[in-house]
């Protein structure tokens, strides 16, 4: 019974932990501009993160080493350093966006200027990293993140023309004169669904929780059931924006606009529920990105790492986590718009994705690391298709960003 509960809990936290500020903002922007015509990108992105996370989970569980330890070992220190700099910068940008997202969600609840909330939010996050057990932290954020299901409930309650939404999703097409912007948001949405930190955290978390070969099945269930259901939350956000905001001529630029469809469908209670969900999702992702910065640097440098270790046992790791949280706060205190940071972070996620995807794909095929559990032919075929998609998205991201003037 305990084992079934563990599996269910893992799946639920995977669902609730799937959405972060990047998914929230990008899906709402896309829904308000293009309706459901980019829903296929969410499906492709969910498939990609399932492939990526399942390979990373297997490599970690069998080798007892997390992503950056493997990357350094496999690529050597110089190439791995280049990899580290790119991935670390991306994860830091995402951390900044997530802390800003927590402040914006709190502003919706209490009406206080988000700039005043950034410092208390950061202190609270650091206290959680320092004092709360890994499993408690992960489960609490994931389970509370399930409140985002309010977006799906709102979509149903709005009573949309399902056949019209289905047509938009099944016959995707860019509005006239917006094909480049459509392509830009396709890349952004893909980057939001396949953020690299998710895999750093997933694989490092596997080491923190001491996964072994016997946990492979549970890990696979978490990924293959949890992430696709998490993708449904993303589609709920895009769908509710498509039904309410698109016809009203509202293009999402602020988090406060994202909850308006929920107000229309479910009223004040619905808004409070989804705002708490946004708070949990962004806070959970802020913890994950902050820890991921520490994981990546400590794993590359060969320092002791892990939340399970006291600061005195892993000082460099804990200083790194505290340092990146402080740096993110300083960046936010300049008055930079967290939503703008989010938009940059999802696009650059797409650019940085090959840095970690390719090494993990190579190692997942290496018997020296995974023994007999190398990728099968079907998984390899799918993983190679995703390698091509990831490469295309990475190469196209910056030209599209420039050509479309950030999707304008």
């Amino acid at each position: 019974m305990k084992r079934y509960w563990g599996v269910a809990l893992g799946i639920l936290t995977a669902i609730g932990g799937f959405v972060d500020i990047g998914d929230l903002v990008t899906n709402a922007v896309v829904g308000s501009r293009f309706g459901m015509s980019l829903a296929w990108v969410v499906l492709v992105g969910v498939g990609g993160i399932c492939v990526f996370a399942s390979m990373a989970g297997r490599v970690t569980a069998l080798g007892q080493r997390a992503v950056f330890e493997i990357i350094r070992e496999r690529l050597g220190p110089r190439a791995a350093l280049a990899n580290l700099i790119g991935s670390f910068a991306m994860t830091f940008l995402t951390l900044t966006a997530e802390i800003g997202g927590v402040a914006l969600a709190l502003q919706l609840l209490v009406g206080v200027d988000p700039l005043l909330l950034v410092v208390p939010v950061a202190v609270a996050l650091w206290l959680v990293v320092w004092r709360v057990r890994f499993t408690v932290m992960e489960n609490a954020a994931g389970l509370l993140g399930l409140l985002l299901i309010g977006f799906v409930v709102a979509l149903v309650a709005l009573g949309p023309d399902w056949s019209d939404l289905g047509r938009q999703a099944l016959r995707p097409s860019a509005p006239e004169g917006s094909s480049l912007a459509y392509a830009y948001y396709a890349v952004a949405l893909f980057g939001a669904a396949m953020t690299p930190y998710e895999v750093f955290f997933f694989s490092s978390g596997a080491v923190e929780e001491r996964w072994g070969a016997r946990d492979l099945g549970v890990s696979r269930l978490n990924v293959l059931i949890g992430f696709p259901l998490g993708g449904l939350l993303s589609l709920g956000i895009a769908g509710s924006a498509a039904v309410v905001l698109l016809p009203a001529g509202i293009e999402v630029a602020d988090l406060s606009q994202v909850v308006l469809p929920v107000a229309t469908a479910l009223g004040v209670a619905g808004v409070v529920v989804v705002t708490l969900g946004i708070l949990a999702a962004t806070a959970g992702a802020a913890l994950e990105t902050g820890l991921s910065c520490g994981y990546a640097l400590a794993q590359y440098a060969g320092w002791p790492w892990g939340k399970r270790l006291q600061p005195v046992q892993a000082p460099q790791f804990h200083v790194t986590v505290a340092g990146v949280v402080l740096a993110a706060v300083l960046l936010l205190l300049t008055g930079v718009d967290p939503v703008l940071v989010t938009e940059f972070s999802v696009v650059f996620s797409a650019v940085a994705l090959p840095l970690t995807y390719l090494p993990i794909l190579v190692v997942a095929n290496d018997p020296q690391y995974v023994g007999e559990h190398t990728n099968g032919p079907v998984l390899n075929a799918v993983a190679l298709v995703y390698l091509v998609i990831i490469a295309v998205a990475a190469v196209a991201a910056i030209p599209l960003l420039v050509l479309t003037r950030m999707g304008a």
Binding site: G63, Q64, E73, R74, L75, G76, R78, A79, A80, A82, N83, I85, G86, A89, M90, Q107, L108, L109, V110, G111, V244, A248, G249, I250, E251, A253, D254, S256, Q257, V259, L260, A263, T264, L266, G267, V268, V271, F344, V347, F348, V351, A352, P354, L355, L358, P359, D366, Q368, Y369, A394, V395, A397, I398, L401, V402, R405, M406, A408
Partner: protein, 150 residues
């Protein structure tokens, strides 16, 4: 498990190329400035429509005053950014005419939004200022179409 030997070669070059892409991205992004007239028209229309929707929901008891105040604050930020962008933009004589119209409506919208915010802050009805926002939203809608056609 044995430690695996480093395998240098194409991976190093691949990683270096990827790093150039990642670090070059922010530089490339700096040069990405949206067309001010189109974007300002679209942003102003969207801001007015957002406040209109939020006030409708507030009047029906579906959105708390605190949340509407945040929506109005955000919309004011959008209006301020649009006004700055319009002031700094240059353009053809036709564009300049459109820009002046947009600037005038943007200033009026800013005033109407502040009135809405003040009324909400005092816990009073937003009927008058809300109606003004609706009227400006309709004008912006027309101007946005002109901006799109120009």
């Amino acid at each position: 498990m044995k430690r695996v030997e480093r395998r240098p070669g194409c991976c190093s070059r691949w990683a270096a190329a990827a790093l150039v892409l990642v670090l070059g991205a922010p530089l490339a992004a700096c040069g990405a400035a949206p067309d001010p007239l189109d974007v300002a028209a679209s942003d102003l229309t969207s801001a007015a429509a957002t406040v209109q929707l939020a006030l409708e929901q507030h009047e029906r008891g579906r959105l708390a005053g605190t949340t509407v105040e945040v929506v109005v604050d955000d919309a004011l930020g959008t209006v301020a950014a649009a006004v700055t962008s319009l002031t700094e933009s240059a353009g053809s004589p036709t564009d300049r005419e459109l820009r002046s119209s947009l600037e005038r409506v943007a200033v009026d919208l800013g005033t109407a939004l502040r009135d809405v915010g003040d009324a909400l802050g005092r816990g009073e009805a937003t009927t008058v200022s809300g109606a003004r926002v609706t009227e400006l939203a309709a004008r912006l809608d027309r101007l946005q179409r002109e901006a799109g056609a120009s």
